[in-house]
Each structure stands twice: as structure tokens, then as C-alpha cells.
């Protein structure tokens, strides 16, 4: 039976500590690039800070972990890749990136509305000695290819190998947990099978406060977010239009909140 792995991220619980980012980078052998900037760095999982732009006690802030949304329908990056280096795994629903086949044309990055894809602008490098701590289960990506969150596919492989060793066809859900989910100290990121109606994550994805970013594009992202704050949920769509350059995004959000 094919799974549809997805996540529900409870933004009320997210403290913006960045543990998920660190765990993601460590588990997936993301290189340390001294010359990288905020716009050229490799952050397959990026926690972004937003606020309602009000002052004093009315001020509210939230942290939003952004990563590949693993779009299910007409996946923008999959349809554009000229050489099938990106695909939706039919068995898991995970959007897979194959760096070994990537041409580095970056068309997929142009296609992604979430800016969740990253290009290796530099050769991978780590501070002296740190290379000894690399995860042997994850291949290091070379310069000139695109990478992104693959829901810690190496962990899925390990779980599948374990199940096979035990003579099972299905993995034990407890054996496959992405690094960010495991590292989150407040359990804000939850991972599960959205195709299984009994899965708590699947149920949570349909709770009243759950939403998906840019759902109106029709790409059926498999990352859900949850917030009890209306102003945070209002960020889901860009129906209010892009934020003017001379106007902070926070100010715009305040307008959204107060109609």
C-alpha cells in the first residue's frame, strides 16, 4: 500500500529555536560555506520569522519552518525538470531530487513558489575534522546541482532495510522519523502518513486551524501548518497581494488582521 508522507507543523508550538535546521543540516551533510549569504546558502529547512507589526502588548510573532512542500498535484519542479532528476515517489509521495542526474539548470528553482530549493554555488566543504562527523548514509552533493528536503530519505532506507531484515513488507512508522521532527523540542513538527485516515497527523491536517501555503495554486502540498492565530492563517494565501517594497511585510500582515 502506498503512503503519502506529510507533516503538520504547529506554529503555536514553534519557538524558532532552529533545532530543526541544525538537525536537518547535520543529518543530510549540508556543507558549511563561509562565503554563502542568506540568498546563496544551503538551508533545506529554513525557519522564518513573521509578526503582526503591532507594538506593545498587541504585538505577536510567529516562526514558520519552510521546506519543500512535497506538492502532490502537477508538482511544479517535477514537470519542468528536463532530465527527470526530480520525481514524486509513487510509494511515498515524497518529491525526490537526484543530484547525480541534475544538470544544474535551476529551472526547478524558478518553478518552486516556496523558494524551497537550493543550488550548490560552491564546492561542498566543512571545517577541518568536521568531515569525520558526516552521515555515511547520505551522499554529499557536488557543486552545480540543486538540492532540497527529501524528508530524510536515508532514514526511510534504513527503516526499509530493517523491515526487510525482519521479513516485513511494511516499515514500522516508529522507524522512519525525519531529523527535524525528531529534533524539535516542542514537538511542533509532526510527521505521518496522510493517506492513512487513522494516522493522527492525517487527522490533524484536517483540523479547523490547519492550512497550507498557496493552496489555491492547486499543487496539493503535503505540508500542513496549524495556528490558532487568525493573522498567521491569513498568511497562507497571497490573496491580499504581494507586499510593497516600501512597506514591511509585518505592516501588511497587520492590515490583513484588521481587515
Amino acid at each position: 500500500m502506498s503512503a503519502r508522507y506529510g507533516m503538520v507543523i504547529d506554529l503555536d508550538r514553534c519557538t524558532g529555536c532552529g533545532s530543526c535546521m541544525i538537525a536537518c543540516a547535520a543529518d543530510n551533510n549540508v556543507p558549511v560555506l563561509p562565503k554563502a549569504t542568506a540568498r546563496t546558502g544551503l538551508t533545506p529547512l529554513l525557519v522564518r520569522k513573521v509578526s503582526n507589526a503591532l507594538e506593545g502588548t498587541a504585538r505577536r510573532e510567529a516562526f514558520i519552518p519552510i521546506m519543500c512542500m512535497h506538492c502532490e498535484h502537477e508538482t511544479p519542479c517535477v514537470t519542468v525538470c528536463p532530465q527527470q532528476a526530480v520525481e514524486v515517489d509513487k510509494a511515498t509521495g515524497i518529491v525526490m531530487q537526484m543530484p547525480q542526474r541534475c544538470l544544474g539548470c535551476r529551472y526547478c528553482m524558478t518553478a518552486c513558489p516556496y523558494h524551497a530549493r537550493y543550488f550548490n554555488w560552491w564546492d561542498p566543504a566543512w571545517p577541518a575534522g568536521m568531515e569525520k562527523s558526516l552521515n555515511p548514509g547520505v551522499a554529499v552533493r557536488m557543486r552545480g546541482v540543486v538540492e532540497k528536503c527529501n524528508m530524510c530519505h536515508a532514514r526511510l532506507h534504513s527503516a526499509q532495510e530493517k523491515a526487510a531484515a525482519l521479513g516485513k513488507r511494511e516499515i514500522d512508522p516508529a522507524d522512519y522519523v525525519p531529523a527535524c521532527v525528531e529534533a524539535c523540542p516542542t514537538a511542533a513538527i509532526r510527521f505521518g502518513n496522510l493517506a492513512d485516515k487513522n494516522d493522527p497527523v492525517s487527522q490533524e491536517a484536517h483540523s479547523p486551524n490547519a492550512f497550507r501555503f498557496l493552496a489555491r495554486l492547486g499543487t496539493e502540498p503535503k505540508l500542513y501548518y496549524k495556528s490558532s492565530e487568525a493573522w498567521v492563517r491569513a498568511l497562507a494565501e497571497s490573496a491580499s497581494g504581494p507586499v510593497p517594497e516600501n512597506k514591511s511585510s509585518e505592516k501588511k500582515l497587520a492590515e490583513v488582521q484588521h481587515g
Partner: protein, 435 residues
């Protein structure tokens, strides 16, 4: 140095002694060409620019694309914009071939060689830049080995590669008409046989060009995740597919006019019959008018239906400076409707100055269209908490493309000097060029 050649006495000087023309035996018979030192002086700055471009490209290939100012949001930059631009301007090659060989418009034949050479320059330059622009250029063959038939980029890669081969095959007969090369019997036979194939090549080139010009438009039109670029379409093709074809065939002849006029200016010679520009201008103007109408309808559908249905209020794309609504006006009216009128109205079309100005406006229009689609699409935010982004190309990006420009000038200059690019004009000075 270049300006000396441009503004001083022309690059075509008569009565030169053999001492100043050591390459005379390579120059078409009866053709009037400038002295070799002056010609080399003209080439020198372009050769320097080409060398700088090769150096910059080498840096990008050796150290990686961190030499550019592109980033994870601005994943496409100056190179893609200019690639799309030169490919559109180079459309005159296939379209002229189509008009001459398929539609039998023999009166356009005098411009055919220029069309082929300009097309060759544009496409070879674009492919060269694409070779630097990808992160793993040695994997270019992967697209042929593992093609994703749903990707517009696959179609672009296939068609551009094949069309560049077609252009080479069309260029070879011109090349083999060189006086010295013609002396080799095997070359003469080869050229003769190849020449017989040219109508077939023109047909194949037309087919390939229609598809890749369209696919370049489709490249952005299919981007569901970028509502600024996303368009509804017909069957599997977004409207930009057809708009790109139309805009390319509308401006291709205009660009040929500009190139020929520039060569006439530099050489101080009339190279094509006077009424040819008018004919090209009329074709360009009519097609531009059709394009402007189609573009206007498409814009209205996009503003009122496509973008709002994706959750984006379309007018708000234009709140960012310098990408305000005037850009729409400039693209559709100033660079579209106005040149279409000037190129087709008999009084303005009869005036060389108006004709060339209109052709220049049309070319600016197609470049602006490609700029908007490539750069503005990426600069605009998609998520509610994204910011509008700016991007300035690095010197390596600019120099690499400068190298392409220099490559174009050098190839054209050499072709003009050593190949019979233009047939002698009836009733004109027969020393213009020779064959």
C-alpha cells in the same frame, strides 16, 4: 578604434594596392574591401572583448556559478534574459528561409545570407552561454538520454540543438563559396549538393524554430507556482507559447533590417535593393500588429481570470518600482502598436529613418518582453511574507555576454569580408560585392 572605422572613411575603400590587401585572393572577386590593417584594427577591440568574455566564462566554469550574482531566488539572471532576447532576434533566419523557400518570396533572397549568418551568431552565442549557465555542463547529454517529455526545457534543448546544426548546414554553403575554398573540387561538389538541400533545411528549420520559440515562451507560461508568468492556453501549450512565436517572427525581419543597415553604414555601401527594407518592414509591421492584438487579449485574460483564480490580485504585481504599469504601456503601445503602425503606414515606411527607428522600437519591444518575463517573474514575491528582490549581474555575467556580442561582430565581419554575402545590385555599383 572602432569608431574610427565607423565614422571615418568606410571599411570599403577602392583602389587599394595589393600590398594593403595581402588577403586579396580570399576576398570575393570584384568585391571592394578595406585594407587588411584597417580591418584588423576594426577587429581588435572586439577580439579584446571576446578574450575578456572567454576569461569570465572560464572563471565561471572553473570556480563555479558563485562568480555570478545569481542566487537561490534569482536562479535565472542576465544570461537567460539575453539568451531569450537573441534567440528572438535571430528568428529572422528561419523566418526569411520560410518566406523565400516555402512561400516563394524570391524578392527577399538578397537578405538570405545575412539572415543565416545572424541566425548562426545568435544561436551559437545563446548555446555557448547556456553551456556556462548550467551548473554541470558536462551533463548536457543527460537531457537527450533521460528526457522529460513534459518539460518545456526538454523541447527547447532538443530544438535549439537541432536548429543550430541546421544553421551550420545552411552556413556551410555560404562559407564554401569563398574563392579559395571553391578551388577544391570536393568542396565545390559538397557545396553544390548541400545547396540543393537548403530548401529542405529551411523547412526543417522552420519546424524546429516554431517549436523552440514557442517552448521558450512556454518555459515561463507553465510555471504554475509563479502566477505572474503562468498563463492558460490551448491544449498543452500556454498562451506565451504562441506569443513568443509571433513576437519572434515579427521582430526577426526588423532585426535583419537593422543589421543590414548597420553594415551599410559601416561599409558606406548600398548592399540590398532599396525596396527590400520596405518589404521586410511591412511583414514585420503586420505581424507585430497581430502580436499586439494577441498580447493585449492575453493580458486582459491574465489580469482578470488567470491570476485572480490563483489567489493573486494581478494589478499588485505593478506596485514595485521600476516595474510599474507604465511597463505594460511601453511594451504594448510604445514598442508594439507604434512600430507596427510606422512599419506599415506607407508614408512612414517610405522614409528610411522612420523605418529603421520603428524596427529598433520593435526589437526593444521583444527584449523588454523577455526581460519582464525572466527578471520580473523572479523578483516578485509569491509567499505573503516574501520580499521583492533586486539583482545586479556580476562583471563575469556581463563580460561573458559581451564576449557573445564580440563573437557576433567578428563572425559577421569575417563573413562579410571573405564571403559573397550580398549579390551585386542591378544597376548599382557592381563593385559592392562579388561572387
Amino acid at each position: 578604434m572602432a569608431s574610427t572605422a565607423l565614422t571615418g572613411s568606410s571599411l570599403t575603400d577602392g583602389n587599394l594596392s595589393d600590398k594593403n590587401l595581402p588577403d586579396k585572393k580570399w576576398i570575393p572577386r570584384d568585391a571592394n574591401r578595406t585594407s587588411l590593417p584597417r580591418f584588423l584594427l576594426w577587429l581588435a577591440p572586439w577580439a579584446a572583448l571576446l578574450a575578456l568574455g572567454i576569461y569570465a566564462a572560464g572563471l565561471c566554469l572553473y570556480y563555479g556559478l558563485n562568480q555570478t550574482n545569481m542566487d537561490n531566488r534569482f536562479a535565472f539572471g542576465l544570461w537567460i534574459f539575453l539568451d531569450l532576447g537573441v534567440i528572438a532576434l535571430g528568428a529572422g533566419a528561419f523566418f526569411t528561409g520560410f518566406l523565400v523557400y516555402i512561400l516563394k518570396r524570391a524578392e527577399l533572397r538578397p537578405i538570405l545570407n545575412t539572415a543565416v549568418v545572424v541566425g548562426f551568431i545568435c544561436y551559437s552565442g545563446a548555446v555557448g552561454i547556456l553551456g556556462i549557465d548550467v551548473g554541470q555542463p558536462l551533463r548536457f547529454w543527460f537531457t537527450f538520454w533521460h528526457p522529460n517529455t513534459h518539460s518545456m526545457l526538454t523541447e527547447v534543448t532538443f530544438c535549439i540543438s537541432c536548429y543550430l546544426v541546421v544553421l551550420c548546414l545552411e552556413y556551410i554553403p555560404i562559407l564554401l563559396r569563398n574563392r579559395q575554398l571553391r578551388k577544391l573540387p570536393s568542396f565545390l561538389v559538397f557545396e553544390h549538393q548541400l545547396h540543393k538541400l537548403v530548401p529542405v533545411l529551411a523547412g526543417v528549420g522552420t519546424l524546429l524554430s516554431f517549436f523552440h520559440q514557442g517552448s521558450l515562451g512556454g518555459l515561463y507560461g507553465v510555471l504554475r507556482g509563479r502566477p505572474f508568468a503562468f498563463r492558460q492556453g490551448i491544449f498543452i501549450w500556454p498562451s506565451t507559447f504562441f506569443l513568443f512565436i509571433l513576437s519572434a517572427i515579427a521582430t526577426g525581419p526588423s532585426f535583419l533590417m537593422l543589421v543590414t543597415a548597420a553594415v551599410e553604414r559601416v561599409t558606406n555601401k548600398q548592399l540590398v535593393p532599396r525596396d527590400l527594407f520596405r518589404r521586410l518592414g511591412f511583414i514585420s509591421g503586420v505581424l507585430l500588429g497581430v502580436y499586439v492584438a494577441a498580447k493585449s487579449i492575453d493580458t486582459l485574460i491574465w489580469l482578470n481570470i488567470t491570476s485572480p483564480s490563483a489567489g493573486f490580485a494581478a494589478w499588485q504585481y505593478y506596485i514595485y518600482k521600476p516595474f510599474g504599469t507604465p511597463i505594460l504601456f511601453v511594451e504594448i503601445v510604445l514598442f508594439g502598436l507604434l512600430p507596427a503602425f510606422l512599419l506599415t503606414y506607407h508614408r512612414t515606411a517610405a522614409h528610411r529613418g522612420w523605418l529603421l527607428s520603428a524596427a529598433a522600437l520593435a526589437c526593444c519591444g521583444v527584449l523588454l518582453n523577455r526581460f519582464v518575463l525572466t527578471v520580473q517573474t523572479l523578483a516578485l514575491p509569491t509567499l505573503a511574507f516574501d520580499e521583492f528582490l533586486h539583482y545586479t549581474p556580476s562583471w563575469q555575467e556581463v563580460a561573458s555576454f559581451g564576449g557573445v556580442l564580440a563573437w557576433g561582430v567578428i563572425v559577421y565581419s569575417l563573413s562579410y569580408r571573405y564571403l559573397p554575402m550580398f549579390a551585386p545590385l542591378k544597376g548599382e555599383d557592381t563593385h559592392v560585392s562579388g561572387d
